[in-house]
């Protein structure tokens, strides 16, 4: 019987409307880093928006990587737990070791248009079934307690997706 191992991906958007302290720190930190780094790709100072710089200077694709240096410290403060996503018991039980930072939009003259995304990739989970709008999952490495395994219910919601699937035959 095949066992399905998935990874969930949560794309957290941080912009001027973000309210949580952590989000605001990331907003400020990434905007400051963007203002420094973008100057390398905009030496003639022709453009103001990230989109225009990217369109006209393909090498500016590196900005996703370069600005990400501003978030590594904040990511470590999360203690390996994916923020915002809670299971049906109200706990942040989804863990992550991998992420990818994205510059979404920004503007040298308009801080309010700054928007970044942090893609959190969950650790592998066994996907047992879907109950209504909830995924019944478990840690593939967890030991069986007697003849049962510990599971949790995660609600499918905007910005949360299954981003990888592996079938294993047991």
């Amino acid at each position: 019987m095949p066992k399905r191992i998935i990874r969930l991906c949560y794309r957290k958007i941080i912009d001027v409307s973000s309210q949580k302290t952590w989000d605001k720190y990331v907003f400020e930190s990434t905007y400051a880093e963007f203002l420094l780094q973008v100057q390398f790709y905009n030496q003639e100072k022709k453009y103001n928006s990230f989109a225009e710089v990217l369109l006209n200077t393909p090498a500016a694709e590196k900005l996703h990587f370069l600005v990400s240096a501003a978030v590594t410290g904040y990511l470590q403060q999360l203690g390996g737990r994916v923020p915002d996503i809670t299971d049906n018991l109200g706990k942040h039980s989804l863990t992550f070791k991998n992420y990818r930072f994205e510059m979404v939009n920004s503007n040298i003259k308009n801080k309010a248009s700054h928007q970044v995304a942090i893609n959190f990739f969950s650790e592998p989970l066994t996907w047992h079934e879907t109950i209504g709008n909830y995924l019944l999952v478990s840690d593939p490495d967890s030991e069986k307690q007697d003849d049962h395994i510990l599971t949790s219910l995660l609600q499918l919601q905007p910005f949360l997706s299954i981003c990888s699937l592996k079938e294993e035959t047991i």
Partner: protein
């Protein structure tokens, strides 16, 4: 019989009146849930269970991970110290303090840190931004970095990228530092040092006079002074002039 029927109906009506309200509340909040994951608290009372956990983590403001003087991270190679002094042309060439100096260079094999092909970055792999660093000049206009001697790649002479900003973050200078050449130069000796992992030697190397960025710099204004040895490590000293 009728009494109980009346009671039953009364209770039923009360019950049935309240149930739709609950259902409506759930449904209504479910429709407004799109706002929850874009930055606001998940505790907006929709059908998702409100987060109920011990408070934390408590975020603290953290500077960019680029702010460090030891930029080696996981890269190996011949020990290398980079001392850069910034002077201000607009102030009689005196030392400029408080300037931000970003440097970056390739590793011994000619690779720069950047996002790899895989879409995922490991959060514990802190070496992802290797050989990139930022320091602020002191009263003497000096910044110092601990690194490894750079390698080289096809089409370019050995170089270090620099980007100098004023204290407000405005770019002052984007430039590159070149290295002295010759059979006894650090570039030649380090690249011959297979013991330290430099495997290319000088075969196919582009020298400064042929390098697109350095060929115009016949006076060597962009060239640092390099002293030391392969065993003890090298020190590069250079002064860069900006108009601040």
């Amino acid at each position: 019989m009728e009494h109980t029927r009346k009671n039953f109906l009364k209770n039923f009506l009360i019950g049935s009146a309240s149930v739709p309200l609950i259902l409506a509340a759930c449904k209504k909040e479910a429709l407004t849930e799109t706002g929850t994951t874009t930055g606001s608290d998940t505790s907006t009372g929709n059908c998702t269970v409100t987060a109920t956990e011990t408070a934390g983590p408590f975020p603290t403001i953290t500077p960019s991970s680029l702010v460090r003087s030891d930029i080696r991270l996981d890269r190996t190679g011949v020990a290398f110290t980079i001392n850069i002094t910034i002077k201000n042309k607009n102030n009689s060439c005196s030392a400029l303090s408080g300037a931000l100096v970003d440097i970056w260079h390739c590793d011994k094999d000619g690779y720069y840190s950047e996002y790899g092909g895989t879409s995922m970055q490991a959060v514990n792999y802190t070496a992802v931004h290797f050989l990139r660093g930022r320091q602020v000049t002191d009263a003497n206009g000096l910044v110092s970095f601990t690194s490894i001697f750079p390698g080289w790649y096809q089409g370019r002479a050995t170089h270090i990228h620099t980007h100098i900003y004023n204290p407000a973050g405005t770019s002052l200078l984007i430039s590159q530092i070149s290295f002295p050449e010759g059979s006894t130069s650090a570039v030649a000796l380090v690249n011959a040092s297979t013991a330290n992992g430099y495997t290319k030697g000088m075969t196919g190397y582009t020298y400064n006079a042929s390098d697109d960025v350095f060929k115009d710099d016949t006076a060597g204004a962009q060239t640092g002074t390099v002293t030391g040895s392969v065993s003890a490590g090298y020190l590069l000293t250079v002064t860069l002039y900006v108009a601040a």
